[in-house]
């Protein structure tokens, strides 16, 4: 069915759900009007439920009802996926009984009824489409890239059957020409070792990436036993070491025998062994991805590369691909995981079914809700929270001054509570570290600012609208934000935002990186100046900012640079560990009140913690209990 004459305007809703990271995306005449993830509303990280809240917000933003939609698109083909699951059970039988029970329950009650669920939840009678999983990923990258043509590589855990695909895009045409099929999956290999290292699967793979620089690649031989990488870039896993085909875990005894260590229990202390395994895994991933893109380029020569799929969130690998010089330009979909599938699915139908024109390059991901100053002030007045309202210029200057440590010091920090001991495996029983964190001896940390502005970001990264900001020049800022505000593992580095025109002066990068998806080295002579964002190996996961992308955020960093000579600040997501990024002023206020953040800026409202009080460790503990550790 093709739609020769398009209704105007044409609204297409893309949906992803029922695996992880449910999301909804609304297009109007091919332009991305609204995109958001369900977890931001339900406050359950990686929520996989039907994205009713996300869809309601999208429709409300557009001012339409479900009957005004020209099409709804689901981001994968459920029956193909079910076929893969059934065939896998035939293959592994008689193993897999417990996994089979769990899977059949899910499929019989929910996943086989997706058209029915969509129509019932939305009272929708119009056309319904289903794209393939990796096609959705490919589409989300290529159609947002602005490239006239591109080589496309998508790589993730698994979709229906494909785990890795290669294809090309030209004009409005997109075609995937080769694929690697389940169970051979680089994404699942990475997830399996994430599990082995004691982290949460489909949630904490980026922590393994952050841990890698602390280790040495001592386990290359063991990695070679896990995966056979061929000359043409394809690969096959040695399934003896993995149990995800039939088990409820990713790996078993054989993996433990291979490395000579048991699977790490979550939250137990990390040792050099774990860091070395992480490093070995990262090197392997870099190597496989480079082989893949080389092969992709041979098949579909182009100056441009588009990447998507969960593995495309591995910024270290992306940095290696960029540095290889194989392509003149690379576009990585910022919502590279399954949430971006909703976007890709909608775009694919826009082009294939509605014969729509290409949209311009995606210049930003601020596609969620925005809250007016009046709404923010109403909330603060209801809660009896003292605040100041500042003009745009006053706000920029004041916050830049706070970040530059020109404001009076916030004062001594209260004792660390129980929540810290529970949440940090690096220092759960080290009194010396605890004293260090309290700022006893050494420099005092500078102020930390919660920054809540404009429309919410789409995708896993905070890029200046739902962010926690701090001074990158002060190493104590890093410790304070990690341990006293985000309550997360102390090995995890922070990412910088830098003015785009200054990026080459401070980093080994000579192009934009607006979505924090590229890692590059900090120049050696600058590492001592921005220690809080320089990882142990001298690298940083960079976000560049231009004024047309986010004027207020750009002006803030510019004002900070005027004061300090440094165009770089810490930018981390506005949430505590295990919590989704804040969506509403209420979420931001809750996070602010229950952590040791010093200031909160929402719209033009500035809140100071010393005027409100720090709150008790018991209150913080109660707040943190709502979020399961990731």
């Amino acid at each position: 069915m093709t739609h020769g004459t398009m209704p105007t305007p044409t609204y297409i809703l893309g949906i992803s759900c029922f695996y992880h990271d449910s999301a909804a995306c609304l297009l109007k005449d091919g332009e991305i009007l609204f995109a958001t993830q369900e977890e931001r509303y339900t406050r359950k990280k990686h929520d996989e439920a039907f994205p009713k809240n996300a869809i309601d917000h999208a429709l409300k933003f557009a001012g339409i009802a479900p009957e005004d939609l020209s099409a709804i698109v689901f981001y994968e083909k459920p029956l193909l996926k079910f076929e893969r699951i059934l065939r896998t059970y035939f293959k592994v039988w008689p193993r897999g009984l417990l996994s089979y029970h769990r899977a059949m329950q899910e499929w019989m009650t929910k996943k086989l009824w997706i058209p029915h669920i969509i129509r019932k939840e939305l009272q929708y009678k119009g056309p319904l489409f289903f794209t393939e999983h990796h096609e959705s990923h490919a589409s989300s990258a290529y159609f947002c890239s602005g490239f006239p043509d591109a080589t496309i590589v998508t790589i993730d855990g698994v979709g229906e059957w494909a785990t890795t695909t290669i294809g090309y895009g030209k004009g409005t045409e997109l075609r995937l020409t080769e694929e690697i099929r389940f169970p051979n999956s680089l994404g699942l290999l990475y997830s399996a070792l994430t599990y082995y290292l004691g982290f949460k699967v489909n949630s904490a793979e980026y922590k393994v990436m952050g841990l890698a620089p602390y280790g040495e690649p001592r386990y290359r031989d063991q990695m070679r036993r896990l995966i056979d990488v061929k000359e043409d870039g394809s690969f096959a896993l040695n399934m003896e070491y993995f149990t995800y085909e039939y088990g409820l875990t990713m790996t078993g005894k054989k993996m433990e025998e291979l490395f000579g260590e048991p699977t790490r229990k979550p939250e137990s202390p990390l040792t050099q062994f774990h860091k070395d395994v992480a490093r070995s895994l990262q090197e392997l991933t870099n190597e496989v991805m480079l082989q893949l893109v080389k092969h992709a380029k041979k098949l579909h020569p182009s100056d441009h590369l588009c990447l998507a799929g969960g593995v495309a969130l591995n910024c270290v690998t992306n940095g290696k691909i960029l540095k290889s010089g194989l392509f003149n330009d690379i576009f990585i979909q910022p919502a590279a995981g399954d949430a971006g599938g909703a976007l890709g699915a909608a775009l694919l139908v826009w082009h294939k079914e509605f014969k729509g024109e290409r949209i311009p390059k995606m210049e930003h991901v601020f596609l969620g809700n925005e809250y007016a100053n009046t709404e923010i002030e109403t909330l603060l007045k209801e809660q009896n929270i003292p605040y100041d309202v500042l003009s745009d210029t006053e706000l920029i200057e004041r916050v830049a001054g706070i970040l530059a440590n020109e404001a009076p010091h916030p004062g001594p920090l209260p004792p660390l509570g129980h929540e810290l001991v529970v949440r940090d495996p690096e220092g759960s029983s080290d009194p010396e570290r605890e004293a260090e964190w309290r700022g006893e001896g050494g420099n005092q940390p500078t102020a930390v600012v919660g920054w809540f502005q404009g429309r919410m970001e789409f995708g896993p990264r905070s890029l200046g609208n739902r962010s926690i900001l701090a001074d990158a020049r002060n190493k104590e800022s890093w410790q304070k934000v990690n341990l006293k505000i985000k309550f997360r593992e102390s090995f995890r580095p922070f990412a910088p935002t830098v003015l785009e025109e200054k990026v080459a002066e401070w980093f080994d990068l000579n192009r934009e990186s607006p979505y924090m998806l590229l890692v590059a080295d900090v120049h050696p002579d600058k590492r001592d100046r921005i220690p809080a964002v320089t990882h142990v190996d001298g690298s940083a996961r960079i976000q560049t900012i231009r004024r047309d992308q986010n004027p207020r955020y750009y002006d803030l960093i510019k004002a900070f640079e005027k004061r300090t000579g440094c165009p770089v600040i810490i930018n981390t997501s506005f949430n505590v560990r295990g919590e989704p990024i804040v969506e509403s002023p209420k979420d931001a206020l809750n996070c602010f009140l229950h952590t040791q953040m010093d200031y909160l800026v929402m719209g033009n409202c500035l809140l100071e913690k010393k005027k409100i009080g720090q709150g008790t460790a018991v209150d913080r503990g109660e707040y943190l209990k709502k979020f399961s550790l990731d």
Binding site: K77, P78, F90, W93, Q105, F130, T131, L176, E178
Partner: protein, 76 residues
């Protein structure tokens, strides 16, 4: 459904019992399907595979199925 007590208690009890019974029965039926249905098919496939002795692939790349008209309408 609005029933006067004690009928409402009986109704609530019956619904709870039905739910538990449903959970148990579905597990029994799924397990029987696992053994008889999946088991038979798995054994047949294994025998066919052993007889045919399919040679291992030299590469893992596979070509995706052909596109067909209107394929985006379908769940497969």
């Amino acid at each position: 459904m609005h029933l006067p007590p004690p009928l409402s208690w009986l109704y609530a009890g019956w619904m709870a019992f039905s739910h538990v019974l449903g959970m148990i029965m579905s597990k029994i039926i799924l397990t029987l399907l696992w053994i008889a249905g999946f088991g038979s098919y798995a054994v047949i496939l294994t025998i066919i595979h052993l007889i045919r002795k399919t040679p291992p692939k030299t590469t893992c790349w596979q070509i995706p199925p052909e596109e067909f008209e209107g394929r985006l309408k379908y769940q497969f």
